[in-house]
Subunit: 385 residues, 4 copies
């Protein structure tokens, strides 16, 4: 059995290639708000992202099309210093481990990792093993870990029941996580994902927000795998109704409804308390709704939000101090969350490439030319960015 | 102090007039899905709606622009027979009483009433008083009532701190509730409401859904009072960005963000259990999101859903039976909820009329001609309905 | 119709009398932890409590046995400066208004008021009217109020459907709220309440907690109206099983289960964030459970917690600062919450006096002598306190 | 590296031995309510329990003291036919996977498995692998699984960071699950657990409940690992305050608060809808509270409840039928939940045996003689059972 995962050098090349590829706004898709320099979750200082992509045709005929994406809120310091965080399940047909503690403590300890549905367990224990290997007690001071691991289902293209994600892939995603541009499309946990019946995967975007005199950034990273074709709207244009052909699913059970999921990670450097981050997490669903989603029964639409501010508030003292945005000043962050989510999803679709996988299944990416044509037809083409 | 509320005869006339007025789809706004005969929440058999509209210029200069809207899930039988129900607060800057019991019991007992923010109390106690007057114990068998009363804030146009809603108005809304067309716009609880900085109020819509061999209806009724101008999208068209003038708010505190709210009532005759109705209630927010809302801090975006099926499941026996939609067959109801919510909001905007109120404040309704012009410009005009 | 409510002078006398009455620990009931000087919620600096007691035999034969209890987190400053707060419904067969906003904002604005089930509305609107009368905008900066009003059902002894609580009673409870000892038993909102089928009402207690080098206080105030006789445990002694006679309910529907409710208000001067206060609120239910409650279907067991710290965190700036207890240092506050709740309930029972009310119904208070006898029998008598 | 896990024959012997051991009520601990024939969760027809116990002293000095406990709601039919279910986290310092879908769907698909904190992942993926191996699609009809796996932390006695639970242990626990008596104490997931600083582990109990003319059973199974010594109450007797010696923890960080957790599984054959099962799950915490717990910050107190009734309601039809208990008839099930939980915890303590483990740590079981002596002293000894 030979295996050719995306090895380090190739991944780097791939990232380079991707950088040369147009993103949604390069194509002329209009969006609201002002993006950060990278238009990525990594516009927030300290956040690193590591992705391991597993693409391999096995000798036994099975196709590996999966991977792991890890978001480290404070980069290497994530192990020692939690962030304030919260989550919201719009439709809970999915898994995000660690949420009971996230709800209770208001803290996200360690990374957020995203993979396929049937590999959540191996990723979870591997995150703990890496923490053990790094030595010392957890940030919590207790000797246990409750990592946050989420998933979407790539079983259409990937041999999901082959359980191909291994602890070493997790270790590598964590070790190689970096700041800078984030590769989008068929990479990491998003490798085999599909949305609105187009090939999809990882996408990201960001927004700059001024609150009083302060400049903040909101970033979104999605692993997008949700949605039926007909309902797809991009920038308000009913794209799905025009592009009804080339659907990937021939199985009527699948075409009958949403069978995917979307994990949305929202990050910000604005200081927000846990109960405020829950409000942010809820708004991710409003960005998703703009795409035409109705959060179908089969879709695990689960969102997590965290703030990288308040590092000192995570210490182990008896009394701590935290900064936070005044309640009447939060709307800009809400709007930015909706906007960044919307763009991150379109970015995932635009960056994805056609893929053939398990059992001969095939998923075609959305045609950039068709998309541009429809935007123009509906006077939503925005060439000037 | 003279007072000229909408008396019965005038209300009837007004309803007649309204019936002659175009609704959103009459203007050419395109929507997804198939509406019921009335395109109203009353397409669901048994539901009655009563509205009392209070419009009066007081001798002391104050302006009364408020009212009460009552939705009776089973019409007059609502007192004796609850419905399964659930609620979801997308942004809880508002009040909906009775929700602790709704969550706990899964039952909605009696009507849903909607009024202005500062009149929730009088409406609540008046609903109880009407129940007491009708005699006998509550449907619950206990001798107490926990009515569901919700609100949005009409203090821009209405003398809200004059507390002009009185128990007799509630009694009348309950007594006069009827099936058939529902008056929209500046009526009932929606009299003084504003959305996206246009005059707004009550709106309704419905969708027909086939589940297996069964035909069901989903209806929405909204009291819409939310949203900033810029974010308004109708049918995906960025209407708000084109119609930036004629804003009602000159107070920068108000233009800084959302200061309104929206109550969305979703009803269906499809048999759904309480935990399924919570899923339905959540989808109302996705219809709202299609309008461009980001659920601003100042907005009380609170939704309630109920099913008129399963009347026999509300008896007082030790063991009861309930029907419900199989989990894999629910997507049509989700989509219908999103669609009906979206159309009900646009209906509220389209039906509303310019209003002058408290302190000389003025709210202009959206211009039908402008709306049609913009729909055409973006090729979203749908003249064929 | 003559009416003799507890007028000011009499209330003062009554308070005096009550002060001379033994409280639970005076009788020898053993409790864990160290109480504050007053063993009352008012041990927390700034908190004031106002109670209006309505006891009257009407000419038409109806009996008024009800009232209002108001807790002002910051005394007169409560109008201008919210507190961080949270709530938890253990069993939601009850009403607590204002909780959607409490959940969303993490702030409690204004007082917590408690009354009977059918008077929640009048109390709610009256709290708003008082705010309007005091002039100026709300602390929120918006021009609306969403007061927190809770209830338990006193319809066994009180003519609850006579709606005897009036706005002026609310105004008086707010105006006369004071620090110092809190009257317990048949007073305020607790006037007609019953628990474990004994006469009950208002009770309070407090605990001193050291966190690091800091000294904090946790206080509880309950309006107790829950529970069946058999399940009553005091200090672990199965009191209810021994005192099976003298039950108040002859109606089998009532003896079949819990028909009451309990509102528990937890206050502290320890700095806690909203998500931490939700944890505190949950622990109130564990104090209740120690009494033998199983939170029966008919019981509205609803809890609210707030912290008087962080007054500066309630300002309207863009960025604010808050203190909070480190997550690993919170257990003392949890334990104190359980302990103070437990003692406040027993205090309510011990302070209550026999009462005859509506329809000849009668509720006997627990016999102090019997209680002491049983404590001694089970070696739980603690005379040294 | 040699490894001597509890092999099948030994396990059976161990079970036999255990059957001969006294349970809590055999010792004279008084409890409320009437237990089923086995006083175990398996009194509910169809439920099977499988436990794999891993006890081994490794050559490298590490001590394996852990395992897996699996509860199959419908025995071997659990794969094909879900049950209605719900969960409640009293204090979320722990993990229970699969809860987002449990909340959303109201269905528990497959088994509930419980293990140590750092082995949740391997157990989760192994449950999926077993399902895949059994062939065919999931009960959900989709091709993914979201298993429920919970944990408590056994790192005091067990080499938890050695990750000794393996997929084959999970397979065996599932394969060998059986009805009949359930082994308690140092077995399965409970092998290395500690509660109130006494050796603890798995415990179970049941209650018979009559609702109308129907006879139902409520069963509890706990993996108990929570609590400090001082707070321990058994049958209301302050046991912990008398047995202050022989504490296991010498590390002040641990003695400072709760560092364990408790997973409580409640099962019933009474027909309950998902929202009703959430109410049941909440009551488990009230049984825990009777033991003196205040749900410390470090404790993951997470509860799940399911009903084995309504097998036909889990089919894939468009419209289904379910039975359920009328809302006013549910109190007996609430009380039974509290009672069974309380007894299951005491059973876990009574069945546990002294254990020496990792790093020389030692945990002593509670002395039966001391317990009996204290019960007698406080007149709570109940010899007639």
């Amino acid at each position: 059995m030979s295996r050719i995962p995306c090895v380090l050098a190739l991944c780097a090349l791939s990232a380079l290639a991707s950088a040369a590829q147009p993103r949604a706004r390069d194509l002329g898709v209009p969006f609201e708000g002002s993006p950060g320099p990278l238009n990525a979750i990594t516009d927030i200082a300290g956040i690193t992202v590591g992705q391991v992509t597993l693409i391999e045709d096995l000798a036994n005929g099975n196709k590996v099309r999966t991977g792991v994406t890890a978001i480290l809120p404070r980069g290497p310091a994530s192990k020692a210093t939690p962030v304030f965080g919260a989550w919201f399940p719009l439709n809970g047909n999915g898994e995000m481990t660690g949420t009971a503690w996230l709800d209770e403590s208001g803290q996200l300890e360690g990374p957020v990792t995203i993979t396929n549905t049937h590999s959540v367990g191996v990723v979870r224990d591997a995150v703990i093993a890496e923490r053990v290997r790094a030595g010392g007690a957890d940030a919590s001071g207790y000797w246990w870990s409750l990592p946050v691991v989420a998933e979407t289902w790539d079983g259409h293209l990937n041999d999901i029941n082959g359980f191909h994600v291994r602890p070493e892939h997790v270790a590598r995603a964590l070790a190689e996580a970096k700041s800078g541009p984030v590769e989008e499309g068929n990479v990491g946990g998003g490798t085999g994902m599909v949305c609105h019946e187009f090939k999809c995967g990882i996408g990201t975007a960001s927004r700059l927000v001024k609150v009083g005199d302060h400049d903040y950034t909101v970033g979104a990273l999605v692993q997008a795998n949700y949605g039926v074709r007909d309902s797809l709207r991009i920038a308000g244009v009913p794209i799905g109704q025009h592009l009804r052909n080339d659907r990937i699913y021939t199985d009527p059970a699948l075409t009958a409804g949403e069978t995917g999921s979307i994990i949305i990670v929202i990050a910000t450097d604005a200081p927000l308390l846990p109960h405020q981050l829950k409000r942010i997490a809820k708004r991710a669903g409003m960005g998703l709704a703009r795409m035409g989603s109705y959060a179908g029964n089969g879709s695990g639409d689960i969102f997590i939000a965290f703030s990288t501010a308040n590092a000192d508030a995570q210490k182990r003292d008896a009394v701590l101090q935290a900064s936070f945005i005044g309640i009447e000043h939060i709307d800009g962050l809400f709007a930015a969350t909706v906007q960044a989510t919307e763009e991150a999803i379109v970015n995932a679709m635009v960056a994805a490439r056609d893929m053939r996988g398990q059992d001969g299944h095939y998923a075609k990416a959305i045609s950039h030319a068709e998309l541009v044509k429809l935007l123009k037809r509906y006077r939503r083409f925005n060439p000037l960015r």
